[in-house]
């Protein structure tokens, strides 16, 4: 049986600053995961990935990251995405400082 599709968001790093960004439903890049479009349909997710990957003058390293729906929007299911959402744990740097 094919594996069931789990919800995802499109994520990347911003070209100029390198920050982690997420694709929103209205095609903007947001630094805040809560604003990301949660993709629950596999075909739609693939289309969004292709569209986002073409925007190479804005972002680098586009991919689909696993998420689950939360009260305030998508929530990471893996600790790697948790760190990408917040920033390093040795310094109060990155997104946790900026958001």
């Amino acid at each position: 049986m094919p594996k069931a599709f789990t919800p995802k968001v499109v994520t990347a790093n911003a070209l100029l600053a390198g920050d982690v960004v997420y694709l929103t439903a209205d095609d903007a890049w947001s630094a805040d995961l809560r604003h990301a479009e949660l993709l629950t349909d596999e075909a739609h997710a693939q289309v969004r990935l292709v569209e986002a990957s073409a925007r190479h003058a804005e972002v680098v390293g586009v991919y689909l990251a696993d998420m689950m729906p939360g009260e305030n929007g998508p929530e990471p299911t893996h600790f790697r995405e948790e760190f990408r959402r917040t920033g390093p744990s040795n310094h109060h740097h990155g997104k946790q400082a900026d958001l």
Partner: protein, 555 residues
């Protein structure tokens, strides 16, 4: 210290100009990331988890105060006020913005520094003993050899697209402080019948398939060194497995073909290419050596040192732990710990960099070294100046007396920064250091090297740690595997796995149980952890780690 000539300076300036244009084209959209990535990597620019990362080479770990100050300036102007020193004598900036990189590279060029070949499938920054030119046990200064190799390898047309990155380390002392046997090529200066020559090893490396280098030639005479190393790289360039990234390193080539076949091929290649060198390399080598003359050592009394040593227990503890024996009478090698308990191993703030630069300038013949253990060295300090040096270090959080002790941990950036990581390293190092500081056991335990990597690439040298910790991802949860008995010196050994790994919450108590088992079982203070492990084997440590009863008893 080596000074760039006009050719070197023009070369770096041209390279920076080229890269500036490439960055502009990336930003205006005329280069895609696929086109740009190999170009940025050629200039030390990575993209990491949260930001870009710029890796700057510190050739053979040697710096002067102006260079250290410039590193501080970069940290402050274009980063978040600190830099991270690595095990391969580089400094990494974790937060630069893409458009600032060309300015950063130009600022580096002002002090004869660059990021060339700090990345990519080339011969990387050549590393050397961090006590070079100062150590009492040194046969000859390894830095002229390293500088010769640097000049030869930089943009060497044959070696820009090797099967994989290639790492060379040089030691001039029989006591290996440069982890040479874990490098693709190890060069060990040796003396035979009054002649200086080199024992050359190949095929060492850590990472996915850790291996200890094997001797390919136990005595290469001085005049043959460069052609001989070129023959090695050349043979591997042909044989190396380009079909599989993980099998591309020379350690696999040596494994697959056997050291004897490799030796024969290298000899053959050497015979073909030797004449092309024409002795030009030797003339250059003689010229380079003149840049590494010893400073004029002072001859003054050590009274100030003796007085402080008697009067101040904090100074005494620091002196006992952080100083190493210098070749010149009255002098000491000062090791500055970048491992203050609870801080990130290898990080230095811009202010701390300036303090170290000032000290090198005022008391250290203007020389600094970066150690592969992520610490900073003042190689030549007269003992009478040590109380002043210590006071200044102390005032800036740089006087932690823990060199070679349990909190002097090598830790790679791990998941906190690194895009390749499978778990974090830094917080584990911070917690271990803090815990043993609380227990006040550090000095009682004595020499004990803990090394941590956040994935199997082994940047943190965990395979050669007395206690090695490897962070893994077990079903979406951080898990830490322990190895014991690794040795990073000339007696290199790879650590053995203890058994199942530990969660992030369990790992610090697990390390504590290992250390307790050592304290209970050692013959006395003279028996180090590594010696005790080599005598006792794995059994008592395994019991301490996994036996439930032992666990309860220990709690």
């Amino acid at each position: 210290m080596y000074h760039y000539n006009d050719f070197d300076a023009a070369f770096v300036a041209e390279r920076n100009r080229q890269f500036r244009a490439q960055v502009e084209r990336r930003i205006d959209g005329s280069l895609t990331e696929d086109e740009f990535k190999p170009l940025r990597l050629m200039n030390g620019l990575y993209l990491q988890l949260h930001a870009y990362m710029l890796r700057v080479a510190i050739p053979y770990g040697t710096l002067n105060s102006a260079q250290m100050r410039q590193l501080a300036y970069l940290a402050e102007k274009w980063d978040k006020g600190y830099g991270h020193f690595t095990t391969r004598q580089n400094i990494q900036y974790n937060w630069p913005a893409l458009r600032d990189i060309p300015d950063m590279l130009d600022a580096l060029a002002e002090v004869q520094m660059h990021a060339i070949q700090t990345s990519g499938n080339t011969i990387r920054n050549v590393t050397a003993d961090h006590f070079a030119g100062a150590a009492a046990d040194e046969i000859a200064d390894p830095r002229p050899v390293a500088e010769l190799l640097r000049q030869w390898s930089t943009d060497h047309p044959e070696f820009q697209f090797l099967p994989r990155k290639f790492k060379i380390a040089v030691t001039g002392s029989p006591n290996d402080r440069a982890v040479t046997a874990a490098h693709d090529v190890a060069i060990r200066i040796t003396e035979r019948d009054g002649q200086i020559g080199y024992t050359v090893l190949v095929g060492g490396g850590l990472g996915r398939t850790p291996m200890i280098g094997k001797v390919i030639n136990d005595f290469v005479p001085q005049e043959d060194l460069l052609p001989y190393v070129e023959a090695i790289v050349s043979v591997w360039n042909l044989l190396g497995r380009r079909d599989n990234k993980y099998k591309a390193r020379i350690k696999i080539t040596v494994l697959e073909h056997g050291i004897d076949e490799i030796r024969a091929l290298v000899e053959k290649r050497f015979a073909e290419t030797k004449d092309a060198f024409n002795g030009a390399d030797l003339a250059l080598f003689e010229e380079i050596k003149t840049h590494f003359r010893h400073p004029n050592f002072r001859n003054v009394t050590e009274e100030a040192y003796d007085a402080a040593y008697k009067a101040d227990p904090v100074f005494r503890s620091w002196a006992d732990t952080n100083l190493a024996q210098h070749r010149a009478p009255g002098y000491a090698i000062v090791q500055i710990s970048l491992k203050k308990h609870g801080e990130t191993p290898g990080d230095a703030s811009a202010e701390q960099m300036r303090v170290m630069a000032d000290l090198a300038y005022a008391y250290g013949h203007d020389e600094l070294r970066i150690s592969h253990e992520q610490n900073v060295i003042l190689p030549h300090v007269h003992k009478s100046d040590l109380p002043a040096v210590h006071a200044k270090l102390k005032a800036h959080g740089l006087a932690t007396a823990n060199i070679d002790l349990v909190s002097d941990i090598i830790a790679c950036p791990g998941m906190d920064y690194c895009a390749l990581a499978t778990a974090r390293s830094i917080p584990i190092a911070q917690q271990i250091a803090t815990r043993f500081d609380e227990l006040k056991l550090e000095h009682e335990i004595g020499e004990l090297k803990i090394k941590i990597s956040g994935c199997i690439n082994a940047c943190g040298h965990h395979h050669v740690g007395h206690i090695g910790i490897l962070g893994l991802d077990r079903a979406g949860v951080e898990n830490y595997q322990i190895t014991l008995g690794g040795d990073h010196r000339e007696t290199m050994a790879l650590g053995q796995r203890t058994g199942p790994g530990f969660s992030a919450e369990e790992i610090v108590p697990a390390i504590e149980r290992i250390v307790e088992a050592y304290l209970e079982n050692r013959k006395g203070r003279e028996e180090t952890f590594l010696q005790a492990f080599n005598r006792l084997g794995m059994a008592p440590f395994k019991t301490a780690l996994y036996d439930q009863e032992a666990r309860v008893a220990a709690e």
